[in-house]
C-alpha cells in the first residue's frame, strides 16, 4: 500500500542516544564513523562462574543529569535510559517543553525486558529470605518506561504506551508513531526503545551458547555470537508539515514499515517469513528493492541469525546493497537495539556515510554480502532499510529516506 497523498508525511527531527559507544547524538555519530567498540567486562551483576562475560554496558551514566522532575530511585535503569534519550532527542530537535506540551503527542517506548534487572535483584532478596525492597517492586511495570518519560516531561495531552515485542521492540515503537502521525492522530511522537543489561537475559543467551566470548563479529566466518548490551535510542518524529512550520532540521523521512510473525519456531528465525516482512515494508513505503542503498541488518552475530537474514535479503534483492550490523560496535541492546540502529540509519542518511561492521576478518561465504568491514564509507544514501527480529518470530522492517526540500 503506497503512501497516500492525503496522508501526512512523517520525518525524524531529533535523536537521543544512550549507548556503550557514546551518549548523545554527536558522540554516537563519531563512534559510528570511527568504528568504536563498546565491549568490556560486564559489571551489572556478579559474573563469577561464567567462562566469559563481556558485554557493551553504558559506563558512567548518571540519571540525575537528565531528571529535573522525578527522583532517580523511582525509575529503574531502563526507564532512566528512556528518559535521558527523550530529553536529548527534544533538545536535538530544538523542541522546547512548553512547545511540546502544546502539541498532541505519542510516547511509545519499546523494550525487551523492562525493569527485569530490578526483578533479578528482588529475586536475590527473596533468596536471602529478606524483605523485598518496595521501591524496586514499585517501579517494575514495563508500562513505566513510557509513562516515566511522560511524568518526567510533565506531558498531559499524550498517548502513552510501552511496546514490549522483545528484541525488535524499538522498530515496533517507531512504526506505531509513524502510523499515528500519518493519519493525524498526533502531532509529534517520542519513540524508540530502552533496555538495561540483566542477569536473566545474559544467562539465557549464554545457556543457548549465543554469547560471544570477546567480540561481536556479524557475517564473519568465525563469528561466535552476540554481546549483551543496553542503552536507549529515542527519536522525535513529527509531520513534515510541522517540521517545516517550525524550521526544524530534518534527518530523514520515515517512508514506511512492515511487520509480521513467523508463527513457527519460538526462537529460530524463518527465512521466507523474514523475506516476506521486507516485501511488506517496501510495499508500505512505496519503494522497490533496487531503491534501497543500505541495509542495517538485525545482524546479531550468531551463526544462525546471520545466515538466515542474509539469505532472506538475497531472496528479496537481486543485487543486495551494502548490509551492516551496528551490533558489531554496540552489542545487542535488546528492545533498544533497532531504535539505536534506526538512529544510526538517520545519521547515515543525513551525514552521508555507512557505519562499518567492525571486528570483521573473513566474510562467511554463506552470508557473502558487502558488510562494509571495519571502516566507515562515505556514501549518498537515499533509502535505508532497518531490519529487526525477535523471539517468537516477530519481524519488523523500517524504511527511512533522504529528505530533500524541493524549492
Amino acid at each position: 500500500m503506497s503512501a497516500d497523498a492525503e496522508q501526512e508525511r512523517v520525518v525524524i527531527t531529533g535523536l537521543g542516544v544512550v549507548s556503550s559507544i557514546g551518549t548523545g547524538v554527536d558522540d554516537f555519530c563519531a563512534g559510528l564513523r570511527a568504528g568504536r567498540s563498546g565491549a568490556k567486562p560486564i559489571t551489572a551483576f556478579d559474573t563469577t562462574g561464567f567462562a566469559h562475560a563481556i558485554g557493551c554496558e553504558v559506563s558512567g551514566f548518571s540519571p540525575q543529569e537528565w531528571l529535573e522532575h522525578l527522583e532517580p530511585e523511582g525509575l529503574g535503569r531502563a526507564t532512566q535510559f528512556a528518559v535521558a534519550g527523550a530529553r536529548m532527542a527534544l533538545v536535538d530537535a530544538g523542541l522546547g517543553l512548553q512547545e511540546l506540551r502544546r502539541r498532541r503527542a505519542l510516547v511509545s517506548i519499546g523494550t525487551s525486558d523492562g525493569e527485569t534487572r530490578d526483578l533479578d535483584t528482588l529475586t536475590e532478596q527473596q533468596l536471602a529470605h529478606g524483605a523485598l525492597d518496595p521501591v524496586l517492586a514499585g517501579r517494575l511495570d514495563a508500562s513505566r518506561l513510557a509513562s516515566g518519560v511522560v511524568r518526567e516531561l510533565e506531558l498531559r495531552d499524550v498517548e502513552t504506551m510501552t511496546t514490549a515485542t522483545a528484541c525488535a521492540a524499538g522498530n515496533y515503537a517507531i512504526g506505531s508513531a509513524f502510523d499515528a502521525l500519518r493519519v493525524g492522530d498526533v502531532d509529534v511522537a517520542l519513540c524508540g526503545g530502552a533496555d538495561a543489561v540483566c542477569r536473566k537475559t545474559f544467562t539465557g543467551f549464554y545457556r543457548f551458547g549465543t554469547i560471544a566470548p570477546e567480540m561481536c563479529q556479524p557475517f564473519d566466518r568465525d563469528r561466535k555470537g552476540l554481546l549483551a548490551s543496553e542503552g536507549s535510542g529515542v527519536l522525535v518524529l513529527e509531520t513534515l508539515r510541522s517540521a517545516r512550520a517550525r524550521g526544524a532540521r530534518i534527518y530523514a523521512e520515515v517512508l514506511g514499515y512492515g511487520l509480521n510473525c513467523d508463527a513457527g519456531h519460538a526462537v529460530a528465525p524463518d527465512q521466507d517469513s523474514l523475506a516476506r516482512c521486507m516485501r511488506l515494508a517496501q510495499a508500505n513505503a512505496g519503494v522497490k528493492p533496487e531503491d534501497v542503498d543500505l541495509i542495517s541488518a538485525h545482524g546479531t552475530g550468531t551463526p544462525t541469525n546471520d545466515v538466515v537474514e542474509t539469505s532472506a535479503i538475497r531472496q528479496v534483492f537481486d543485487v543486495p546493497p551494502p548490509t551492516v550490523s551496528v551490533k558489531s560496535m554496540i552489542g545487542h541492546a535488546m528492545g533498544a537495539a533497532s531504535a539505536l540502529a534506526a538512529v544510526a540509519c538517520a545519521l547515515a542518511i543525513r551525514e552521508g556515510f555507512i557505519p562499518p561492521t567492525i571486528n570483521h576478518t573473513n566474510t562467511d561465504p554463506d552470508c557473502g554480502l558487502d558488510c562494509v568491514p571495519n571502516q566507515a564509507r562515505e556514501a549518498v544514501l537515499n533509502v535505508v532499510q532497518n531490519n529487526a527480529l525477535a523471539f517468537a518470530g516477530n519481524n519488523v522492517v523500517l524504511l527511512l529516506g533522504r529528505h530533500q526540500e524541493v524549492s
Binding site: 497516500d4 496522508q7 561464567f50 525487551s112 525486558d113 523492562g114 526483578l119 528482588l122 529475586t123 536475590e124 527473596q126 533468596l127 525492597d133 518496595p134 517492586a137 514499585g138 511495570d141 514495563a142 508500562s143 513505566r144 511522560v150 511524568r151 498531559r156 495531552d157 498517548e159 502513552t160 504506551m161 511496546t163 514490549a164 515485542t165 522483545a166 506505531s176 502510523d179 500519518r182 493519519v183 493525524g184 492522530d185 542477569r199 536473566k200 537475559t201 544467562t203 539465557g204 543467551f205 545457556r207 543457548f208 512492515g258 511487520l259 509480521n260 510473525c261 513467523d262 508463527a263 513457527g264 519460538a266 526462537v267 511488506l280 508500505n284 525477535a390 523471539f391 517468537a392 516477530n394
Partner: protein, 377 residues
C-alpha cells in the same frame, strides 16, 4: 483530529483513513477466560447477576487475596502436548483465541498471513522470570538453567506463543500499558488497520495471578491491605473493517467509535479532570453527544476521581453503570479487557441505533483514557 471511527457521523468517515480502508471498524466476535471460567456465557451470567467471583484469601499460596480462573488447566483446553510449561497468562490468551477462532470458523484464519494479534500485558511472566533467575543463582554453575523456559521470560511470550499455536502470521505486537492495556491495544490495532498493515486483528489483554506477582504486590503495598484482590484473565476480540465482516458473513457486536488518552501528573488529584477531557475528545471524534452514552464501565482505580470526571461530561444523561472490579478483582493488564467483556455482555443496555458504551480508566502511573463503542448497523 480524525480517528478510529465513525459510526453515526458519515461526514467524518470520508475524511479518515478508515473510510478508504473499508470504513468503520467493528468487533465481530469475542471470547474470554475469567474468574467465572472459560467462555462468554459464564462471564455474562456472573457479571450481569452481580455475583462476585470466589476470592482465595491470603494464606499459604499467596500473601494477598486473589481471584483466579477456577480450576484452569491449559491441557483441558489446548491439549496436553506443549502446554505443560505454558504460563497462565500465555495459556489464557491461547485458550481465549482458540475459543474465538472455533466459533468464527475456518474462514477467519484461512489465510494466516492476513490475521494478526495485538495483546496487552502487564509485568509479563514475573513468576517465570523469578524462577529462571533463582535457578541461575542457586545452580552449581550460574548458567545451569532450563533453556527451554528462556523464551517464557520475555514480555512478548503470550502474544508470540499464541501466534505460533494458532498459526497467526500477521502483525504480532505486545503492548504494556498497565490497566488500560486493552484500550491502548485497540487504538494501536485500529491504526495498524488504517495504516494498511492488516485488516483482521485479534486484540485484547491477558494477566495472571502467581505467587511472584502476589509477593511483589504485597511488597509494594508496604503492609497496607490491597484496594482489591489480585485478579486475572484474558479477553480477546476480532477487530476488522465492517465491510470485511460483512463480506465474510460475520455479525459485528460493536463498532469501535473512538479511543482517547491523556496523562495526569497526580492521578489522585487530576485524574478526573483529565478523564473528562478524554471523554469529551472521544465523543467529538465519534460525532456524538453525551446523551448517547447508555452504559458506563469504569476501571475502579481512583474510583471517586473517575466517577466525577465521567459525571462532569454526562450532565443530565443517566446511563447504566457496571463495575467489574468488585466482582473480578484488580486484573491489572487484563482490567480494561474485562471492562470490554462487561460492556459486550450488557449489550441490552445499549441496544438502540446510536447508543454508545463508555469504558474508562485512571491508572497509577498517570495514564488516563477511555474508549467508546457503538452499535453496528
Amino acid at each position: 483530529m480524525t480517528t478510529i471511527e465513525a459510526s453515526g457521523s458519515p461526514h467524518l468517515a470520508h475524511r479518515d483513513g478508515a473510510a478508504r480502508d473499508g470504513g468503520t471498524l467493528v468487533l465481530s466476535g469475542w471470547s474470554a477466560v475469567s474468574a467465572y471460567g472459560v467462555g462468554r456465557d459464564v462471564l455474562r451470567e456472573g457479571l450481569l447477576s452481580g455475583r462476585a467471583a470466589r476470592v482465595e484469601e491470603a494464606g499459604d499460596g499467596a500473601p494477598v487475596p486473589c481471584v483466579v480462573v477456577p480450576g484452569f488447566r491449559a491441557a483441558d483446553h489446548l491439549g496436553r502436548k506443549g502446554t505443560r510449561t505454558m504460563s497462565r497468562s500465555t495459556a489464557f490468551a491461547a485458550t481465549a483465541i482458540d475459543v474465538l477462532l472455533r466459533e468464527l470458523g475456518p474462514e477467519v484464519a484461512g489465510d494466516p498471513q492476513r490475521i494478526g494479534l495485538v495483546l496487552g500485558v502487564g509485568q509479563g511472566n514475573v513468576q517465570t522470570v523469578m524462577d529462571f533467575t533463582r535457578g541461575a543463582l542457586t545452580a552449581s554453575k550460574p548458567y545451569h538453567v532450563d533453556a527451554l523456559r528462556f523464551p517464557d521470560t520475555f514480555l512478548n511470550r503470550a502474544a508470540g506463543q499464541s501466534a505460533i499455536w494458532h498459526g497467526l502470521q500477521g502483525p504480532n505486537t505486545t503492548i504494556a500499558a498497565g490497566r488500560l492495556s486493552a484500550l491502548l491495544a485497540i487504538g494501536y490495532a485500529a491504526r495498524l488497520s488504517r495504516g494498511g498493515h492488516c485488516r483482521r486483528l485479534l486484540v485484547g489483554a491477558t494477566e495472571e495471578c502467581s505467587p511472584a506477582r502476589a509477593l511483589l504486590a504485597d511488597a509494594v503495598s508496604a503492609g497496607r491491605d490491597l484496594p482489591a484482590p489480585l485478579g486475572e484473565g484474558c479477553v480477546v476480540a476480532l477487530l476488522e473493517p465492517a465491510a470485511e465482516a460483512a463480506a465474510a458473513g460475520r455479525v459485528p457486536v460493536a463498532t469501535v467509535a473512538a479511543t482517547h488518552f491523556r496523562a495526569a501528573a497526580d492521578p489522585a488529584v487530576e485524574g478526573g479532570a483529565e478523564l473528562a477531557v478524554c471523554v469529551r475528545a472521544a465523543l467529538a471524534k465519534a460525532g456524538a453527544g453525551a446523551d448517547r452514552i447508555r452504559l458506563v464501565v469504569p476501571l475502579g482505580e481512583y474510583a471517586q476521581q473517575e466517577e466525577a470526571g465521567i459525571r462532569a461530561v454526562l450532565g443530565d444523561a443517566d446511563p447504566r453503570w457496571l463495575h467489574c472490579r468488585p466482582l473480578l478483582g484488580d486484573a491489572f493488564a487484563a482490567s480494561a479487557g474485562l471492562q470490554l467483556s462487561a460492556a459486550l455482555s450488557a449489550a441490552a443496555h445499549w441496544s438502540k441505533p446510536g447508543d454508545l458504551a463508555l469504558l474508562t480508566g485512571i491508572d497509577r502511573d498517570g495514564t488516563v483514557g477511555c474508549a467508546l463503542f457503538g452499535r453496528p448497523d
